[in-house]
Protein backbone atom coordinates (compact mmCIF):
# COMPACT_ATOMS: atom_id res chain seq x y z
CA UNK A 1 0.00 0.00 0.00
CA UNK A 2 1.55 3.25 -0.98
CA UNK A 3 3.77 3.04 -3.99
CA UNK A 4 7.43 2.42 -3.72
CA UNK A 5 10.04 5.06 -3.39
CA UNK A 6 12.80 5.63 -5.80
CA UNK A 7 11.07 5.70 -9.15
CA UNK A 8 12.33 9.06 -10.20
CA UNK A 9 11.31 10.71 -13.36
CA UNK A 10 7.78 9.46 -13.22
CA UNK A 11 4.95 11.17 -11.49
CA UNK A 12 3.41 9.31 -8.63
CA UNK A 13 -0.15 8.45 -9.43
CA UNK A 14 -2.53 7.69 -6.64
CA UNK A 15 -3.74 4.55 -8.30
CA UNK A 16 -0.32 3.01 -8.71
CA UNK A 17 0.64 1.16 -11.83
CA UNK A 18 -2.76 0.84 -13.37
CA UNK A 19 -3.22 4.54 -12.95
CA UNK A 20 -0.07 5.25 -14.84
CA UNK A 21 -1.64 3.58 -17.80
CA UNK A 22 -4.86 5.43 -17.27
CA UNK A 23 -3.18 8.77 -17.20
CA UNK A 24 -1.72 8.21 -20.58
CA UNK A 25 -3.08 11.37 -22.00
CA UNK A 26 -1.97 13.51 -19.10
CA UNK A 27 1.53 12.44 -19.77
CA UNK A 28 1.82 13.38 -23.35
CA UNK A 29 4.39 16.05 -22.66
CA UNK A 30 6.34 13.67 -20.47
CA UNK A 31 8.74 13.05 -23.31
CA UNK A 32 11.52 15.47 -22.54
CA UNK A 33 13.13 17.31 -25.42
CA UNK A 34 16.51 15.90 -24.39
CA UNK A 35 15.60 12.34 -25.19
CA UNK A 36 19.19 11.45 -25.90
CA UNK A 37 20.52 11.80 -22.39
CA UNK A 38 24.18 11.30 -21.67
CA UNK A 39 25.09 8.06 -19.97
CA UNK A 40 25.96 9.99 -16.85
CA UNK A 41 22.65 11.78 -16.55
CA UNK A 42 20.96 8.48 -17.23
CA UNK A 43 22.93 6.85 -14.43
CA UNK A 44 22.19 9.52 -11.84
CA UNK A 45 18.50 9.38 -12.53
CA UNK A 46 18.36 5.72 -11.44
CA UNK A 47 17.18 4.88 -7.94
CA UNK A 48 20.29 2.76 -7.43
CA UNK A 49 22.39 5.85 -7.79
CA UNK A 50 20.82 7.51 -4.79
CA UNK A 51 21.07 4.26 -2.84
CA UNK A 52 24.74 4.25 -3.72
CA UNK A 53 25.11 7.83 -2.54
CA UNK A 54 23.43 6.83 0.71
CA UNK A 55 25.99 4.09 1.07
CA UNK A 56 28.90 6.43 0.53
CA UNK A 57 27.42 8.90 3.00
CA UNK A 58 26.85 6.23 5.64
CA UNK A 59 30.36 4.84 5.19
CA UNK A 60 31.96 8.26 5.38
CA UNK A 61 29.97 9.20 8.48
CA UNK A 62 30.83 6.01 10.33
CA UNK A 63 34.47 6.18 9.34
CA UNK A 64 34.82 9.79 10.44
CA UNK A 65 33.01 9.16 13.67
CA UNK A 66 34.63 5.88 14.70
CA UNK A 67 37.95 5.89 12.93
CA UNK A 68 37.73 2.10 12.66
CA UNK A 69 34.82 1.51 10.40
CA UNK A 70 36.78 1.12 7.20
CA UNK A 71 39.70 -0.63 8.83
CA UNK A 72 41.06 -3.84 7.34
CA UNK A 73 39.66 -5.94 10.17
CA UNK A 74 36.20 -4.43 10.09
CA UNK A 75 35.71 -4.45 6.35
CA UNK A 76 36.92 -8.02 6.44
CA UNK A 77 34.22 -8.81 8.99
CA UNK A 78 31.56 -7.02 6.97
CA UNK A 79 32.57 -8.94 3.88
CA UNK A 80 32.36 -12.17 5.88
CA UNK A 81 28.82 -11.68 7.10
CA UNK A 82 27.47 -9.82 4.08
CA UNK A 83 26.98 -12.74 1.69
CA UNK A 84 24.65 -14.64 4.00
CA UNK A 85 22.17 -11.78 4.14
CA UNK A 86 22.97 -10.53 0.66
CA UNK A 87 22.19 -13.79 -1.12
CA UNK A 88 18.76 -13.87 0.49
CA UNK A 89 18.11 -10.26 -0.50
CA UNK A 90 18.93 -11.13 -4.11
CA UNK A 91 16.20 -13.76 -4.18
CA UNK A 92 13.61 -11.67 -2.39
CA UNK A 93 14.32 -8.68 -4.63
CA UNK A 94 13.70 -10.73 -7.75
CA UNK A 95 10.53 -12.18 -6.25
CA UNK A 96 9.30 -8.73 -5.30
CA UNK A 97 10.00 -7.44 -8.80
CA UNK A 98 7.83 -10.31 -10.03
CA UNK A 99 5.10 -8.97 -7.78
CA UNK A 100 5.10 -11.40 -4.85
CA UNK A 101 6.28 -11.59 -1.24
CA UNK A 102 8.14 -14.24 0.72
CA UNK A 103 8.00 -14.21 4.50
CA UNK A 104 9.32 -17.77 4.78
CA UNK A 105 12.94 -17.05 3.81
CA UNK A 106 14.08 -16.90 7.43
CA UNK A 107 12.70 -20.37 8.10
CA UNK A 108 14.03 -21.83 4.87
CA UNK A 109 17.38 -20.34 5.86
CA UNK A 110 17.25 -22.78 8.79
CA UNK A 111 15.37 -25.69 7.25
CA UNK A 112 17.82 -26.37 4.45
CA UNK A 113 21.05 -26.47 6.48
CA UNK A 114 19.31 -28.32 9.33
CA UNK A 115 18.10 -30.98 6.95
CA UNK A 116 21.56 -31.21 5.42
CA UNK A 117 23.00 -31.56 8.89
CA UNK A 118 20.49 -34.23 9.91
CA UNK A 119 20.94 -36.23 6.71
CA UNK A 120 24.71 -36.33 7.04
CA UNK A 121 25.33 -36.35 10.79
CA UNK A 122 22.37 -38.51 11.79
CA UNK A 123 21.65 -40.73 8.82
CA UNK A 124 25.11 -40.82 7.30
CA UNK A 125 23.94 -39.81 3.85
CA UNK A 126 26.73 -38.91 1.45
CA UNK A 127 27.32 -35.16 1.76
CA UNK A 128 27.04 -34.50 -1.97
CA UNK A 129 23.84 -36.47 -2.27
CA UNK A 130 22.53 -34.71 0.82
CA UNK A 131 23.39 -31.34 -0.70
CA UNK A 132 21.48 -32.18 -3.84
CA UNK A 133 18.53 -33.39 -1.77
CA UNK A 134 18.32 -30.28 0.39
CA UNK A 135 18.66 -27.90 -2.52
CA UNK A 136 15.82 -29.89 -4.06
CA UNK A 137 13.93 -29.39 -0.82
CA UNK A 138 14.48 -25.63 -1.07
CA UNK A 139 13.11 -25.67 -4.59
CA UNK A 140 10.14 -27.71 -3.42
CA UNK A 141 9.35 -25.21 -0.67
CA UNK A 142 9.46 -22.40 -3.21
CA UNK A 143 7.29 -24.38 -5.56
CA UNK A 144 4.71 -24.98 -2.85
CA UNK A 145 4.72 -21.28 -1.93
CA UNK A 146 4.12 -20.34 -5.54
CA UNK A 147 1.68 -23.06 -6.47
CA UNK A 148 -0.51 -22.53 -3.41
CA UNK A 149 -0.50 -18.77 -3.90
CA UNK A 150 -1.32 -18.89 -7.59
CA UNK A 151 -3.61 -21.90 -7.75
CA UNK A 152 -5.72 -20.95 -4.79
CA UNK A 153 -5.61 -17.24 -5.40
CA UNK A 154 -4.62 -16.18 -1.91
CA UNK A 155 -2.05 -13.48 -1.14
CA UNK A 156 1.56 -14.68 -0.96
CA UNK A 157 1.76 -12.82 2.32
CA UNK A 158 -0.46 -15.51 3.83
CA UNK A 159 0.95 -18.53 2.02
CA UNK A 160 4.48 -17.70 3.00
CA UNK A 161 3.46 -16.74 6.52
CA UNK A 162 2.12 -20.28 6.80
CA UNK A 163 5.35 -21.61 5.32
CA UNK A 164 7.31 -19.53 7.85
CA UNK A 165 5.78 -21.66 10.60
CA UNK A 166 5.89 -24.95 8.75
CA UNK A 167 9.52 -24.69 7.65
CA UNK A 168 10.71 -23.56 11.06
CA UNK A 169 8.91 -26.45 12.67
CA UNK A 170 10.40 -28.86 10.15
CA UNK A 171 13.90 -27.65 10.84
CA UNK A 172 13.39 -28.48 14.50
CA UNK A 173 12.02 -31.87 13.59
CA UNK A 174 15.08 -32.38 11.41
CA UNK A 175 17.67 -31.82 14.12
CA UNK A 176 15.59 -33.59 16.73
CA UNK A 177 16.40 -33.48 20.40
CA UNK A 178 20.09 -34.05 20.64
CA UNK A 179 22.50 -31.69 19.03
CA UNK A 180 24.99 -33.54 16.89
CA UNK A 181 28.39 -32.29 15.88
CA UNK A 182 28.63 -31.05 12.34
CA UNK A 183 29.65 -33.67 9.83
CA UNK A 184 32.56 -33.05 7.50
CA UNK A 185 31.49 -31.45 4.26
CA UNK A 186 33.98 -31.88 1.43
CA UNK A 187 32.33 -28.94 -0.31
CA UNK A 188 32.63 -26.79 2.82
CA UNK A 189 35.80 -25.15 1.57
CA UNK A 190 34.31 -24.35 -1.77
CA UNK A 191 31.57 -22.41 -0.03
CA UNK A 192 33.23 -20.72 2.89
CA UNK A 193 37.01 -21.17 2.93
CA UNK A 194 38.87 -18.18 4.32
CA UNK A 195 41.36 -16.58 1.94
CA UNK A 196 42.58 -14.10 4.50
CA UNK A 197 40.73 -10.94 3.64
CA UNK A 198 37.70 -12.53 2.08
CA UNK A 199 35.95 -15.86 2.14
CA UNK A 200 34.74 -18.06 -0.65
CA UNK A 201 31.17 -17.08 0.24
CA UNK A 202 31.87 -13.55 -0.97
CA UNK A 203 32.96 -14.91 -4.33
CA UNK A 204 29.77 -16.92 -4.48
CA UNK A 205 27.77 -13.84 -3.61
CA UNK A 206 29.44 -11.72 -6.24
CA UNK A 207 29.17 -14.53 -8.76
CA UNK A 208 25.48 -15.05 -8.03
CA UNK A 209 24.86 -11.32 -8.18
CA UNK A 210 26.54 -11.08 -11.56
CA UNK A 211 24.75 -14.10 -13.00
CA UNK A 212 21.40 -13.05 -11.57
CA UNK A 213 22.03 -9.46 -12.59
CA UNK A 214 22.63 -10.52 -16.16
CA UNK A 215 19.69 -12.89 -16.02
CA UNK A 216 17.34 -10.29 -14.57
CA UNK A 217 18.44 -7.25 -16.53
CA UNK A 218 19.68 -8.67 -19.81
CA UNK A 219 17.91 -11.96 -20.47
CA UNK A 220 14.50 -12.54 -21.93
CA UNK A 221 13.33 -14.26 -18.78
CA UNK A 222 14.36 -11.21 -16.77
CA UNK A 223 12.29 -9.10 -19.10
CA UNK A 224 9.32 -11.34 -18.32
CA UNK A 225 9.91 -10.94 -14.59
CA UNK A 226 9.67 -7.17 -14.84
CA UNK A 227 6.66 -7.46 -17.13
CA UNK A 228 4.87 -9.86 -14.80
CA UNK A 229 5.40 -7.67 -11.76
CA UNK A 230 4.72 -4.45 -13.64
CA UNK A 231 1.38 -5.33 -15.16
CA UNK A 232 0.50 -9.00 -14.90
CA UNK A 233 -2.51 -8.88 -17.22
CA UNK A 234 -0.61 -7.18 -20.01
CA UNK A 235 2.25 -9.64 -19.64
CA UNK A 236 -0.19 -12.52 -19.86
CA UNK A 237 -1.87 -11.03 -22.91
CA UNK A 238 1.52 -10.78 -24.57
CA UNK A 239 1.97 -14.49 -24.17
CA UNK A 240 4.12 -14.53 -21.05
CA UNK A 241 3.43 -17.49 -18.83
CA UNK A 242 3.17 -15.36 -15.73
CA UNK A 243 2.48 -18.36 -13.56
CA UNK A 244 5.75 -19.96 -14.61
CA UNK A 245 7.61 -16.69 -14.11
CA UNK A 246 6.27 -16.25 -10.61
CA UNK A 247 6.83 -19.85 -9.58
CA UNK A 248 10.39 -19.67 -10.89
CA UNK A 249 10.94 -16.55 -8.79
CA UNK A 250 9.47 -18.26 -5.71
CA UNK A 251 11.72 -21.27 -6.24
CA UNK A 252 14.80 -19.16 -6.81
CA UNK A 253 14.04 -17.17 -3.70
CA UNK A 254 13.82 -20.31 -1.54
CA UNK A 255 16.88 -21.81 -3.17
CA UNK A 256 18.99 -18.76 -2.41
CA UNK A 257 17.68 -18.58 1.16
CA UNK A 258 18.62 -22.23 1.65
CA UNK A 259 22.04 -21.77 0.12
CA UNK A 260 22.71 -18.77 2.34
CA UNK A 261 21.69 -20.84 5.34
CA UNK A 262 24.12 -23.59 4.36
CA UNK A 263 26.88 -21.02 4.03
CA UNK A 264 26.15 -19.65 7.46
CA UNK A 265 26.06 -23.09 9.05
CA UNK A 266 29.33 -24.08 7.45
CA UNK A 267 31.02 -20.83 8.35
CA UNK A 268 29.93 -20.75 11.99
CA UNK A 269 29.96 -24.54 12.27
CA UNK A 270 26.78 -24.13 14.27
CA UNK A 271 23.73 -26.17 13.26
CA UNK A 272 21.14 -24.18 15.18
CA UNK A 273 17.49 -24.54 14.21
CA UNK A 274 16.95 -20.96 15.37
CA UNK A 275 19.07 -19.62 12.51
CA UNK A 276 17.54 -16.82 10.53
CA UNK A 277 14.69 -16.06 12.93
CA UNK A 278 13.23 -12.71 11.93
CA UNK A 279 15.37 -12.57 8.81
CA UNK A 280 12.34 -11.91 6.61
CA UNK A 281 11.78 -8.35 7.75
CA UNK A 282 15.48 -7.52 7.54
CA UNK A 283 15.60 -8.88 4.02
CA UNK A 284 12.52 -7.04 2.81
CA UNK A 285 13.85 -3.87 4.39
CA UNK A 286 17.11 -4.40 2.51
CA UNK A 287 15.28 -4.86 -0.77
CA UNK A 288 13.14 -1.77 -0.24
CA UNK A 289 16.09 0.38 0.83
CA UNK A 290 17.73 -0.71 -2.41
CA UNK A 291 14.84 0.68 -4.43
CA UNK A 292 12.59 -2.35 -4.93
CA UNK A 293 8.90 -1.46 -5.12
CA UNK A 294 6.54 -3.25 -2.74
CA UNK A 295 4.08 -3.25 -5.62
CA UNK A 296 6.28 -5.10 -8.09
CA UNK A 297 7.84 -4.29 -11.43
CA UNK A 298 10.60 -2.04 -10.12
CA UNK A 299 13.96 -2.98 -8.62
CA UNK A 300 17.48 -4.05 -9.45
CA UNK A 301 20.28 -6.35 -8.43
CA UNK A 302 22.61 -3.43 -7.73
CA UNK A 303 19.94 -2.03 -5.45
CA UNK A 304 19.65 -5.40 -3.69
CA UNK A 305 23.38 -5.41 -3.05
CA UNK A 306 23.44 -1.85 -1.77
CA UNK A 307 20.44 -2.52 0.44
CA UNK A 308 22.09 -5.57 1.99
CA UNK A 309 25.34 -3.70 2.57
CA UNK A 310 23.44 -0.83 4.20
CA UNK A 311 21.53 -3.11 6.57
CA UNK A 312 24.72 -4.86 7.67
CA UNK A 313 26.80 -1.68 7.90
CA UNK A 314 24.31 0.33 9.89
CA UNK A 315 24.22 -2.37 12.54
CA UNK A 316 27.97 -2.72 12.71
CA UNK A 317 28.68 0.99 12.53
CA UNK A 318 26.28 1.77 15.34
CA UNK A 319 28.07 -0.62 17.69
CA UNK A 320 31.39 0.93 16.69
CA UNK A 321 29.94 4.32 17.42
CA UNK A 322 29.37 3.06 20.96
CA UNK A 323 25.68 3.74 20.86
CA UNK A 324 24.18 2.72 24.17
CA UNK A 325 22.51 -0.71 24.09
CA UNK A 326 19.18 0.71 25.11
CA UNK A 327 19.20 3.27 22.33
CA UNK A 328 20.64 0.97 19.76
CA UNK A 329 17.35 0.03 18.18
CA UNK A 330 16.19 3.63 18.14
CA UNK A 331 19.20 4.51 16.05
CA UNK A 332 18.64 1.49 13.81
CA UNK A 333 14.99 2.35 13.22
CA UNK A 334 15.71 5.98 12.50
CA UNK A 335 18.54 5.13 10.12
CA UNK A 336 16.35 2.73 8.14
CA UNK A 337 13.71 5.38 7.65
CA UNK A 338 16.28 8.08 6.93
CA UNK A 339 18.01 5.96 4.33
CA UNK A 340 14.76 5.32 2.48
CA UNK A 341 13.81 8.98 2.69
CA UNK A 342 17.19 10.13 1.39
CA UNK A 343 16.89 7.51 -1.31
CA UNK A 344 13.56 8.92 -2.45
CA UNK A 345 14.60 12.54 -2.15
CA UNK A 346 17.93 12.01 -3.88
CA UNK A 347 16.11 10.16 -6.64
CA UNK A 348 13.68 13.05 -7.07
CA UNK A 349 16.46 15.59 -6.97
CA UNK A 350 18.49 13.92 -9.66
CA UNK A 351 15.57 13.08 -11.85
CA UNK A 352 14.44 16.68 -11.79
CA UNK A 353 17.80 17.75 -13.10
CA UNK A 354 17.95 15.52 -16.09
Amino acid sequence: MNTAPGVPGRRKDAGGQAASILHASQLSSGLKPTSRKSLWSKAISKPEFSAFLMLVAVFAAFQLYTGFFLSYANTRLLLTILPELGIVVLGVTILMIAGEFDLSVGSVFALVPMTLHALTARYGVDPYLALVLVLGLALLVGYINGAVTLSLGIPSFITTLGMLFVARSMSIVAVGGNPLALADYPFGDVLVVNFGYIRASLIWYVGLAVVLGVWLHASDFGNWIFATGGQAQAAKDLGINTRRVKITAFMLCSLLAGLAGIIQMLRTKAPLPSMGTGLELEVIAGAVIGGTALTGGVGSIIGAIIGAILIRSIDNGLVMSRVNAEWFRTALGVLIVVSVVLNVKAGQFFSRRR
Binding site: L77, T80, P179, S274, G278
Partner: protein, 299 residues
Protein backbone atom coordinates in the same frame (compact mmCIF):
# COMPACT_ATOMS: atom_id res chain seq x y z
CA UNK B 1 -0.79 -44.34 29.21
CA UNK B 2 -1.52 -43.75 32.82
CA UNK B 3 -0.89 -40.05 33.16
CA UNK B 4 -0.75 -36.93 31.03
CA UNK B 5 1.88 -34.36 31.93
CA UNK B 6 2.49 -30.97 30.34
CA UNK B 7 5.82 -29.19 30.33
CA UNK B 8 5.13 -25.47 29.89
CA UNK B 9 8.19 -23.41 29.13
CA UNK B 10 9.22 -19.99 27.92
CA UNK B 11 11.37 -20.50 24.88
CA UNK B 12 10.78 -21.08 21.23
CA UNK B 13 11.75 -24.34 19.65
CA UNK B 14 14.90 -23.08 17.99
CA UNK B 15 17.14 -23.41 21.03
CA UNK B 16 19.31 -26.55 21.16
CA UNK B 17 19.24 -26.24 24.94
CA UNK B 18 15.55 -26.94 24.93
CA UNK B 19 16.06 -29.72 22.46
CA UNK B 20 18.07 -31.46 25.17
CA UNK B 21 15.42 -30.75 27.80
CA UNK B 22 12.79 -32.16 25.47
CA UNK B 23 14.89 -35.21 24.89
CA UNK B 24 15.20 -35.78 28.66
CA UNK B 25 11.48 -35.41 29.07
CA UNK B 26 10.71 -37.80 26.22
CA UNK B 27 13.07 -40.42 27.62
CA UNK B 28 11.48 -40.23 31.05
CA UNK B 29 8.01 -40.42 29.58
CA UNK B 30 8.89 -43.45 27.49
CA UNK B 31 10.39 -45.23 30.46
CA UNK B 32 7.44 -44.45 32.70
CA UNK B 33 4.85 -44.85 29.96
CA UNK B 34 3.22 -41.45 30.41
CA UNK B 35 1.85 -39.07 27.81
CA UNK B 36 3.93 -35.91 27.78
CA UNK B 37 3.64 -32.69 25.85
CA UNK B 38 6.13 -29.86 25.83
CA UNK B 39 4.58 -26.51 25.02
CA UNK B 40 6.98 -24.18 23.24
CA UNK B 41 6.25 -20.55 22.49
CA UNK B 42 6.13 -18.74 19.21
CA UNK B 43 8.38 -16.02 20.57
CA UNK B 44 11.20 -16.53 23.01
CA UNK B 45 10.21 -15.31 26.46
CA UNK B 46 6.63 -14.35 25.63
CA UNK B 47 5.32 -14.60 29.16
CA UNK B 48 1.73 -13.92 28.23
CA UNK B 49 1.71 -16.93 25.96
CA UNK B 50 3.41 -19.08 28.57
CA UNK B 51 0.74 -18.21 31.07
CA UNK B 52 -1.88 -18.97 28.45
CA UNK B 53 -0.32 -22.36 27.85
CA UNK B 54 -0.28 -23.00 31.57
CA UNK B 55 -3.95 -22.09 31.82
CA UNK B 56 -4.76 -24.24 28.82
CA UNK B 57 -3.02 -27.17 30.49
CA UNK B 58 -5.10 -26.65 33.59
CA UNK B 59 -8.25 -26.41 31.51
CA UNK B 60 -7.26 -29.72 29.98
CA UNK B 61 -7.05 -31.32 33.44
CA UNK B 62 -3.66 -32.87 32.87
CA UNK B 63 -2.27 -34.92 35.73
CA UNK B 64 0.77 -32.81 36.35
CA UNK B 65 2.55 -29.71 35.10
CA UNK B 66 6.18 -28.70 34.88
CA UNK B 67 6.71 -25.03 34.25
CA UNK B 68 9.40 -22.39 34.16
CA UNK B 69 8.66 -19.44 36.42
CA UNK B 70 10.28 -16.63 34.50
CA UNK B 71 8.45 -13.92 36.36
CA UNK B 72 7.80 -13.51 40.06
CA UNK B 73 4.16 -12.52 39.71
CA UNK B 74 2.65 -13.61 36.44
CA UNK B 75 2.41 -17.32 37.07
CA UNK B 76 1.42 -17.18 40.75
CA UNK B 77 -2.32 -17.22 40.30
CA UNK B 78 -2.37 -19.99 37.73
CA UNK B 79 -0.02 -22.23 39.69
CA UNK B 80 -2.03 -21.78 42.85
CA UNK B 81 -5.17 -22.44 40.89
CA UNK B 82 -3.78 -25.70 39.48
CA UNK B 83 -2.68 -26.95 42.84
CA UNK B 84 -6.09 -26.11 44.27
CA UNK B 85 -7.60 -28.28 41.54
CA UNK B 86 -5.29 -31.12 42.51
CA UNK B 87 -2.84 -30.76 39.65
CA UNK B 88 0.71 -30.87 40.97
CA UNK B 89 2.97 -28.16 39.54
CA UNK B 90 6.73 -28.18 39.79
CA UNK B 91 9.14 -25.59 38.50
CA UNK B 92 12.10 -26.33 36.28
CA UNK B 93 14.89 -24.33 34.70
CA UNK B 94 13.81 -20.98 36.18
CA UNK B 95 12.34 -20.46 39.62
CA UNK B 96 10.67 -17.60 41.39
CA UNK B 97 13.40 -15.34 42.77
CA UNK B 98 11.89 -15.84 46.24
CA UNK B 99 11.64 -19.56 45.56
CA UNK B 100 8.90 -21.37 47.47
CA UNK B 101 7.91 -18.18 49.23
CA UNK B 102 7.03 -16.44 46.02
CA UNK B 103 5.11 -19.13 44.21
CA UNK B 104 3.04 -22.14 45.20
CA UNK B 105 5.03 -24.57 42.98
CA UNK B 106 5.90 -27.71 44.84
CA UNK B 107 9.61 -27.91 44.01
CA UNK B 108 12.30 -26.58 41.69
CA UNK B 109 14.64 -28.50 39.42
CA UNK B 110 17.28 -26.39 37.72
CA UNK B 111 19.76 -23.64 38.12
CA UNK B 112 19.63 -20.27 39.83
CA UNK B 113 20.01 -17.93 36.86
CA UNK B 114 21.25 -14.91 38.73
CA UNK B 115 23.70 -17.00 40.72
CA UNK B 116 24.85 -18.79 37.60
CA UNK B 117 25.71 -15.45 36.05
CA UNK B 118 27.64 -14.54 39.16
CA UNK B 119 29.49 -17.85 39.14
CA UNK B 120 30.36 -17.64 35.46
CA UNK B 121 31.87 -14.20 35.91
CA UNK B 122 33.76 -15.42 38.97
CA UNK B 123 35.18 -18.37 37.06
CA UNK B 124 36.32 -16.12 34.26
CA UNK B 125 37.87 -13.61 36.64
CA UNK B 126 40.33 -16.27 37.70
CA UNK B 127 42.17 -15.65 34.44
CA UNK B 128 41.91 -11.86 34.42
CA UNK B 129 45.19 -9.87 34.53
CA UNK B 130 46.23 -7.93 37.57
CA UNK B 131 46.05 -4.53 35.96
CA UNK B 132 43.04 -2.87 34.32
CA UNK B 133 40.14 -5.08 33.35
CA UNK B 134 37.60 -4.14 30.72
CA UNK B 135 34.61 -6.43 30.21
CA UNK B 136 31.71 -6.42 27.79
CA UNK B 137 28.59 -8.33 28.70
CA UNK B 138 26.33 -9.51 25.89
CA UNK B 139 22.92 -9.27 27.53
CA UNK B 140 21.35 -10.72 24.34
CA UNK B 141 17.97 -9.08 24.84
CA UNK B 142 17.47 -7.42 28.19
CA UNK B 143 13.75 -7.38 27.68
CA UNK B 144 13.80 -11.10 28.48
CA UNK B 145 13.81 -12.12 32.11
CA UNK B 146 16.32 -14.95 31.88
CA UNK B 147 18.80 -12.74 30.07
CA UNK B 148 18.28 -9.86 32.46
CA UNK B 149 18.75 -12.12 35.50
CA UNK B 150 21.98 -13.61 34.26
CA UNK B 151 23.22 -10.18 33.30
CA UNK B 152 22.33 -8.97 36.74
CA UNK B 153 24.35 -11.79 38.33
CA UNK B 154 27.33 -11.01 36.15
CA UNK B 155 27.15 -7.36 37.05
CA UNK B 156 26.83 -8.18 40.74
CA UNK B 157 30.06 -10.13 40.56
CA UNK B 158 31.83 -7.39 38.67
CA UNK B 159 30.81 -4.92 41.38
CA UNK B 160 32.21 -7.20 44.04
CA UNK B 161 35.31 -7.78 41.94
CA UNK B 162 35.90 -4.09 41.49
CA UNK B 163 36.21 -3.71 45.23
CA UNK B 164 38.96 -6.29 45.57
CA UNK B 165 40.79 -5.92 42.27
CA UNK B 166 43.99 -3.91 42.14
CA UNK B 167 43.53 -2.49 38.68
CA UNK B 168 40.60 -0.57 37.32
CA UNK B 169 37.49 -2.65 36.52
CA UNK B 170 35.10 -1.31 33.89
CA UNK B 171 32.31 -3.05 32.07
CA UNK B 172 29.53 -2.33 29.67
CA UNK B 173 26.38 -4.27 28.83
CA UNK B 174 25.37 -4.44 25.17
CA UNK B 175 22.60 -6.30 23.45
CA UNK B 176 24.28 -8.20 20.68
CA UNK B 177 21.44 -10.75 20.24
CA UNK B 178 22.18 -14.44 19.75
CA UNK B 179 21.67 -14.40 16.00
CA UNK B 180 25.10 -15.62 14.94
CA UNK B 181 26.09 -13.06 12.27
CA UNK B 182 24.56 -10.12 14.13
CA UNK B 183 26.25 -11.04 17.37
CA UNK B 184 29.53 -11.64 15.60
CA UNK B 185 29.30 -8.28 13.89
CA UNK B 186 28.43 -6.41 17.03
CA UNK B 187 31.00 -8.10 19.28
CA UNK B 188 33.62 -7.63 16.62
CA UNK B 189 32.77 -3.96 16.22
CA UNK B 190 32.90 -3.53 19.97
CA UNK B 191 36.26 -5.26 20.28
CA UNK B 192 37.74 -3.07 17.58
CA UNK B 193 36.64 0.13 19.20
CA UNK B 194 37.92 -1.15 22.57
CA UNK B 195 41.37 -2.57 21.83
CA UNK B 196 42.09 -3.21 25.52
CA UNK B 197 39.09 -5.46 25.98
CA UNK B 198 39.76 -8.20 28.53
CA UNK B 199 36.71 -10.41 28.26
CA UNK B 200 33.35 -11.03 26.68
CA UNK B 201 30.77 -12.59 28.95
CA UNK B 202 27.68 -13.82 27.18
CA UNK B 203 24.41 -14.73 28.83
CA UNK B 204 23.73 -17.27 26.06
CA UNK B 205 25.91 -19.34 23.70
CA UNK B 206 29.19 -17.51 23.42
CA UNK B 207 30.51 -19.14 20.27
CA UNK B 208 29.65 -16.16 18.03
CA UNK B 209 31.87 -14.04 20.27
CA UNK B 210 34.63 -16.62 20.00
CA UNK B 211 34.15 -16.59 16.24
CA UNK B 212 34.46 -12.81 16.26
CA UNK B 213 37.81 -12.99 18.04
CA UNK B 214 39.03 -15.65 15.69
CA UNK B 215 37.95 -13.67 12.63
CA UNK B 216 39.57 -10.53 13.98
CA UNK B 217 42.83 -12.44 13.92
CA UNK B 218 43.31 -12.23 17.67
CA UNK B 219 45.39 -14.90 19.36
CA UNK B 220 43.27 -17.46 21.19
CA UNK B 221 42.72 -16.24 24.73
CA UNK B 222 43.72 -12.63 24.06
CA UNK B 223 40.16 -11.76 24.88
CA UNK B 224 38.54 -14.21 27.31
CA UNK B 225 35.15 -15.48 26.26
CA UNK B 226 32.60 -17.18 28.46
CA UNK B 227 28.96 -18.05 28.19
CA UNK B 228 26.23 -20.57 28.84
CA UNK B 229 25.16 -23.93 27.59
CA UNK B 230 26.90 -26.66 25.67
CA UNK B 231 26.23 -27.13 22.01
CA UNK B 232 28.67 -28.49 19.42
CA UNK B 233 29.95 -25.08 18.25
CA UNK B 234 30.57 -24.08 21.87
CA UNK B 235 32.61 -27.19 22.40
CA UNK B 236 34.58 -26.44 19.24
CA UNK B 237 35.21 -22.93 20.51
CA UNK B 238 36.46 -24.23 23.85
CA UNK B 239 38.73 -26.75 22.16
CA UNK B 240 40.14 -24.09 19.87
CA UNK B 241 40.95 -21.92 22.88
CA UNK B 242 38.81 -18.98 21.80
CA UNK B 243 36.26 -19.66 24.50
CA UNK B 244 37.43 -20.26 28.06
CA UNK B 245 34.32 -21.26 29.99
CA UNK B 246 30.79 -22.47 29.42
CA UNK B 247 28.32 -23.03 32.22
CA UNK B 248 26.50 -26.28 31.76
CA UNK B 249 23.26 -26.73 33.61
CA UNK B 250 22.56 -30.21 32.32
CA UNK B 251 19.38 -29.57 30.40
CA UNK B 252 18.70 -33.29 29.97
CA UNK B 253 18.14 -33.54 33.69
CA UNK B 254 15.82 -30.56 33.63
CA UNK B 255 13.63 -32.52 31.29
CA UNK B 256 14.03 -35.94 32.83
CA UNK B 257 13.81 -35.33 36.54
CA UNK B 258 10.58 -33.30 36.74
CA UNK B 259 8.70 -36.04 34.93
CA UNK B 260 10.08 -38.68 37.26
CA UNK B 261 9.13 -36.55 40.19
CA UNK B 262 5.59 -35.95 38.98
CA UNK B 263 5.21 -39.64 38.33
CA UNK B 264 6.36 -40.49 41.84
CA UNK B 265 4.05 -37.92 43.33
CA UNK B 266 1.04 -39.21 41.41
CA UNK B 267 1.72 -42.90 41.64
CA UNK B 268 3.22 -43.29 45.09
CA UNK B 269 2.21 -40.03 46.70
CA UNK B 270 5.85 -39.19 47.40
CA UNK B 271 6.61 -35.63 48.39
CA UNK B 272 8.33 -33.10 46.14
CA UNK B 273 12.05 -32.35 46.38
CA UNK B 274 14.35 -29.71 44.94
CA UNK B 275 17.24 -30.56 42.63
CA UNK B 276 20.11 -28.33 41.63
CA UNK B 277 21.02 -29.60 38.19
CA UNK B 278 24.34 -27.90 38.62
CA UNK B 279 26.44 -25.10 37.45
CA UNK B 280 29.21 -27.20 36.01
CA UNK B 281 31.99 -25.08 34.54
CA UNK B 282 33.13 -26.62 31.29
CA UNK B 283 36.66 -25.65 30.30
CA UNK B 284 39.38 -26.98 28.06
CA UNK B 285 40.35 -29.34 30.89
CA UNK B 286 37.14 -31.29 31.13
CA UNK B 287 35.72 -30.78 27.66
CA UNK B 288 36.68 -34.15 26.25
CA UNK B 289 34.82 -36.15 28.84
CA UNK B 290 31.75 -34.04 28.44
CA UNK B 291 31.77 -34.04 24.66
CA UNK B 292 31.07 -37.74 24.53
CA UNK B 293 27.89 -37.29 26.53
CA UNK B 294 26.89 -34.19 24.66
CA UNK B 295 26.95 -36.12 21.42
CA UNK B 296 24.21 -38.30 22.77
CA UNK B 297 22.20 -35.28 23.74
CA UNK B 298 22.53 -36.00 27.42
CA UNK B 299 24.70 -33.07 28.33
Amino acid sequence: SEYRFNYVMHSNTGQPFWGAVNRGMQDACKQLNVDCQMLFLDKDGDIAQEKTNLDASIAQHVDGIVTTIINDDVMDESVADAIKQGIPVIAANVDDSKHGAGNARLSFIGQDLEQAGYDLAAEMAKSFPDDDVQVVVNGVDLAQAWAAQRTHGIERFLQDYKKIHKGNVTWEVIEATYDTPTEQSRISAYAQSNPNLTAVIDVANAFPAALAMQDLGYAAGKVKVGGFDLVPPVMDAIKSGYQQVAVDQQPYLQGYLPIVQLFMMKKYNLGPWDVNTGKAMVTKDNIDAIEALSKEGIR
